[in-house]
Amino acid sequence: MPEIRNMTINFGPQHPSAHGVLRLVLELDGEVVQRADPHIGLLHRGTEKLAESKPYNQSIGYMDRLDYISMMCNEHAYVLAIEKLLGITPPIRAQYIRVMYDEMTRILNHVFWLAAHAADIGAMTILLYCMRDRENILDCYEAVSGTRMHATYYRPGGVYRDLPETMPQYKPSEWHSQKDVEVMNSDRQGSLLDFIEAFTASFPGNLDDYETLLTENRIWKQRTVDIGVVTAERALQLGFTGPMLRGSGVEWDLRKKQPYEVYDRLDFDIVVGVNGDCYDRYLVHMEEMRQSIRIIRQCVDWLRANPGPTMLGCGQR
């Protein structure tokens, strides 16, 4: 009988299904990974070192690039830290704008996660649908900051500017006729808030579509149910946070437990999983997007009714 041994292979760092640059040294028994040694530093930029020799406000842009799928949330953490040290509180309108953009960023992030996750598992259709939704949110980024990804929109003491009254429009081109463009611009006739409101109306329907494609899909369930089970104890040991921790059944949400900005004024639920497997984490992510939509709607209503300053003036706290 021939001797059967585990096989060690190198994966990456450049590989079509390695998101970013990730290298894994894998020990395989058949198709099952027995041991993995991740080499994670290939994208490391030493942000702390770069920030060392700069005034604090010049490093906000670096924070966008930490996790370039949820840009404004990183900015938010950084800006909040500066504000905490300075002992200042931004105007209430700025806080609502930040919370609204945080939640849009959450959707941006989760939608991209869903696209990549589904594509990796083999559900190719999802990818392009998700990119369509992502595009709308990136347009909102562009409308307030002028850039689609690395916004540098949050500033210590508020946000860079108030929400614009107009949305950028598509123009006819080789690929889009005048008629197409009119349809594409139909949500963009009013202010940014109108556009966001239209998005909150259309997006839940899209989410339903994705769930129709995936949630009860046999192949999807075969590949996620009981895969990657992490118990609550293990999740805490490994320092999990966010939807990863909630997927393992720990009811922990900073927005509820240690509310910052205006989260204590908003109505939403904490989403918790049961089994701690990939499937539960998937369900948590999906439901979180629905909760985000709820929060965004509340923010839109408030922002409509309450104009005001979005940045602290000189000498204000």
Binding site: I40, G41, H44, G46, E48, K49, L50, E52, S53, P55, K84, L85, R234, L236, Q237, L238, G239, T241, V250, W252, K257, Q258, C314
Partner: protein
């Protein structure tokens, strides 16, 4: 909140007694300072004692106090016109606090049960600086400690696999030490003769970027019209 934070602070002091060298409440969070040889014992109690229950280790990071209190920027006064742009290079604050060692390791703990955070600071003497690992207490310390070793050169005694984690293969030095140059020591280029990527001493110089700002609004109209 402030009251319960005070109470928690007092409980910590009572429980650990003189194991806590110093402690303070700043920006809504308690920081305690302990000796490196008591780190393991204190951390174990912090995790296992019912009244603390710090089940999660959120972060471990190193701090290099080599240039603490030395500022390059003239930023004492806030203005509406912005910072002074020049680097003054060697403006030394006279009142630099005396630290017991150059390096410190800082642990950020989170208790989900009590909804509370704690910061534990531990100055690490020696060259190379060395402290006990807490991997056996919190598994998340594994990579955090590798990172701290990689970037600051602090050794963790008892770590199962203390390799570099973020820097390049064959990297020399610890980049987050204050005496490590911002631009680094080596750069990689493609050598056409050798037909491969090679390392060579870094060719760029450290400089201060001064963004060029062109403004066209009413505040500048006067100045422009005078010209």
């Amino acid at each position: 909140m402030a009251n319960s934070l005070e109470a928690f602070h007092t409980r910590l002091r009572e429980f650990f007694g003189d194991k806590i060298l110093a402690s303070r409440i700043a920006t809504g969070q308690v920081t305690i300072e302990i000796l490196p040889d008591q780190l393991s014992a204190v951390c174990k109690s912090l995790r296992d004692e019912e009244q603390f229950a710090f089940a999660q280790l959120s972060d471990v990071c190193g701090v290099d106090y080599l240039s603490y209190g030395k500022a390059d920027w003239e930023t004492q006064d806030t203005t509406s016109t912005g910072f002074s742009r020049g680097v003054s290079g060697g403006v030394y604050n006279e009142e630099i606090r005396g630290f017991p060692a150059r390096f410190a390791v800082v642990y950020h703990l989170l208790s989900i049960k009590h909804n509370r955070r704690l910061r534990v600071r531990c100055f690490v003497p020696g060259d190379p600086p060395k402290v006990n690992s807490v991997v056996d207490i919190w598994a998340s310390a594994n990579w955090f400690e590798r990172e701290t070793f990689d970037l600051f050169g602090i050794l963790f005694d008892g770590h199962p696999d203390l390799r570099r984690i973020l820097t390049d293969y064959g990297f020399i030095g610890h980049p987050f030490r204050k005496d490590f140059p911002l631009e680094g020591n080596v750069e990689v280029i493609y050598d056409a003769e050798k037909k491969r990527v090679v390392y060579q001493p870094v060719s760029i110089e450290n400089r201060v970027l001064v963004p060029k700002v062109i403004r066209h609004d009413h505040r500048y109209e006067k100045v422009e019209s005078k010209k």
